[in-house]
Amino acid sequence: MKIFSNPSQQLLEQSLNAASLRQKTISQNIANVDTPNYKAKKTIFKHQLDKALEGQRLSAYRTDDRHIPFGGKVSTSPAVVVSRKDTMFNHNGNNVDIEHEMSEMAKNQIYYNAMIERLNGRFNSLKTVIGGGK
């Protein structure tokens, strides 16, 4: 049993990095809300978390082949920034949707805080173990 390099902790670290990058991307979009011809950007990391769960490290017992497998190993691929092309354009070629960005930011805040709470929870568990339950 690895104490600090186990999969869930690595996932937490990656999620924190990705959430931080997403915050920067949202900052950039909101900064350019009035810039003509600016194309909004988006940070993608969720699919990588899903992909991470595909590889099997802790494989679940399946009674039927049609059951969805779960458990997995940690992917080391970082989050990426891509341009959003699925949105409507403004009259000046800018496609930043300020409502979308602000709600994404609110989501990202909660997500980030949740990840930090979870990380702290892990550290506290380790502390309890190291202290012998005292």
Binding site: A19, Q23, S27, A31, P36, Y112, N120
Partner: protein
């Protein structure tokens, strides 16, 4: 990309929006200025100014991450590249006793439309507020990150 990258991005936007606000203030202040510039021995009215904004791409970090083929660079915020003058014609008003009236008694007044300026001002204010919200959110995230492992 440093940990304060998000702050720098938002700060550039705050600066740009503030400049927009200054330009609006200048336009509003000069709404009746008939002697804006002295050209060829004649006074020309004030011309409405506008800011031109563009994404701030011309930074070392942007070029480096592009050259390295990295896809995790969000950008360096925004900058005001130029302040341009509105080329729409001046308003002509019949005021024969005005010192700057022409031979027919018409005075050219600046091409400033207070309505446009008000709309621009609202837009700049709202964008500024959105960026302040973003700045606070980024700050809260960093403060929260400092709590990791405090238990």
């Amino acid at each position: 990309m440093t940990i304060f990258h998000g702050f720098n991005t938002t700060a550039s936007a705050l600066t740009a929006q503030r400049l927009r606000m200054d330009v609006v203030a200048s336009n509003m202040a000069n709404v009746d200025t008939t002697r804006g510039r002295f050209v060829n021995g004649e006074w020309e009215p004030y011309k409405r100014k506008m800011v031109v904004m563009q994404p701030n791409e011309n930074r070392f970090s942007t070029h480096l991450s592009k050259a390295m083929g990295r896809s995790d660079h969000p950008g360096n915020g925004v900058k005001v590249s130029r302040i341009v003058e509105d080329q729409t014609p001046f308003k002509l008003v019949y005021q024969p006793d005005h010192p700057d009236a022409n031979a027919e008694g018409y005075v050219s007044l600046p091409n400033v439309d207070p309505l446009k300026e008000m709309v621009d001002m609202m837009s700049a204010t709202r964008s500024y507020e959105a960026n302040v919200t973003t700045l606070n959110a980024t700050k809260n995230m960093l403060m929260k990150a400092l709590e990791i492992g405090k238990g």
